[in-house]
């Protein structure tokens, strides 16, 4: 141990006290002040789910991103800072509704979501594919070519695959209900196990 006589910073040891309680209060009030000042461009939180920890992010317009564990949440946040705004804060309250509806969905008590969505991370054809997906009923599936037909471009089967694989709001926008014509699952942002779990959950609940 250094004594105050030999180490000037020892006199300051108490000044370095991190005071986590004061800090967490300050961070909470910053989130509130940021929201009132229209500076909370991207709010996020995480929730636990049967498909792993999910990151939820919302702009002022609505839910903009749902990300699986395997996507690396830190990277996802950097991506949001890049593509939307670096004003990104951990602010659970804006996502209370989304968190509650997702938890009801995983408890098989909810078959469709009623949330404002922000599709800014999907453009053009991809967005029209995503717009069609909520029309696929809970517990049912469509093939990539059926979705291509519904989106108005029957030959764009591969593009439908890309649109589904890059869906920024999975689960809520049910790209997991799009499967290959032979009945196999196809690619999924959350991995094949997550896709299979969601489809089984819906099939069991729909019966």
């Amino acid at each position: 141990m250094n004594t105050p006589e030999t180490d000037p910073t020892a006199a300051l040891a108490a000044l370095y006290d991190p005071d986590p309680l004061a800090l967490s209060r300050l961070r909470d009030s910053l989130v509130g002040a940021a929201a009132s000042a229209d500076l909370l461009d991207v709010a996020y939180r995480t929730i636990d789910s049967p498909v792993g920890t999910l990151l939820l992010a919302a702009t002022e317009q609505g839910l903009v991103r749902v990300a699986f564990d395997i996507e690396d949440h830190d990277l996802v946040l950097v991506g949001l800072a890049d593509k939307i705004s670096p004003r990104v804060l951990l602010a659970p309250r804006r996502l209370d509704d989304a968190a509650r509806q997702l938890s009801e969905y995983f408890d098989s008590r909810r078959m469709s979501f009623a949330l404002p969505l922000d599709f800014r991370l999907a453009t053009g054809f991809r967005r029209s594919v995503l717009a069609h997906l909520p029309e696929i009923a809970y517990g049912h599936t469509e093939s990539y070519s059926q979705v291509a037909l519904a989106a108005g471009s029957p030959r764009a089967v591969r593009a439908v695959g890309t649109a589904c694989a890059s869906n920024p709001i999975p689960i809520v926008v049910p790209c997991h209900r799009v499967v290959r014509s032979d009945g196999s699952f196809g690619n999924y942002r959350g991995g094949p196990a997550a896709k299979s779990l969601l489809l089984q959950l819906e099939r069991a609940a729909a019966q």
């Binding site: 108490a14 800090l23 002040a33 670096p86």
Partner: protein
């Protein structure tokens, strides 16, 4: 180069900025200074050049906010109770360590130099850029401040009782 989400800035620098605010405007007004600093930083963050020195940027904002708060305090002085001669022995968790009172008693420049160099870790040149004057003057102010704190430290500890 992409910019870190602002949450990471709060996570990485929040504690340092709180220390700096406590040293510069005092323990109790530090909360306001901290909040105003981070709200101003959040507002300006998209325009901050990528690769900028975040700590120096935040300390510069905190320095300006501290000046605003000190000026506002001077314009409309709020009645404050005389500090008690003896401290509570109950040891309320919210009671600041008496070292903060010693910091508050330092002359302005010394207090700022100690805060920005010792608490925020900025080199003397950057400290000088913020508080004015030369790097040497900043070094002397920090050294004088520290030696006063060091001299008063045993007394402070006695006052604090069996901490």
């Amino acid at each position: 180069m992409s910019k870190a989400p602002f949450e990471a800035i709060v996570e990485n620098h929040g504690a340092t900025v709180l220390r700096v605010c406590r040293a510069v405007v005092g323990f109790h007004e530090a909360q306001d200074a901290w909040s105003e600093t981070f709200l101003a930083a959040l507002r300006a963050y998209p325009e901050l050049p990528a690769g900028a020195n975040i700590e120096a940027w935040l300390v510069t904002i905190a320095h300006r906010k501290a000046i605003d708060i000190t000026r506002a305090r001077a314009r409309s002085p709020v009645p404050v109770d005389e500090p008690p001669d003896t401290r509570s022995t109950v040891g309320l968790p919210a009671a600041p360590n008496p070292i903060w009172a010693e910091v508050a008693a330092l002359p302005n420049k010394q207090r700022q130099a100690v805060a920005y160099h010792y608490l925020a870790g900025l080199p003397y040149q950057q400290v000088a850029d913020i508080i004015g004057g030369s790097a040497d003057a900043a070094r002397r102010a920090a050294a004088d401040g520290i030696s006063t704190l060091r001299r008063n430290y045993p007394r402070t500890q006695q006052k604090a009782g069996n901490r």
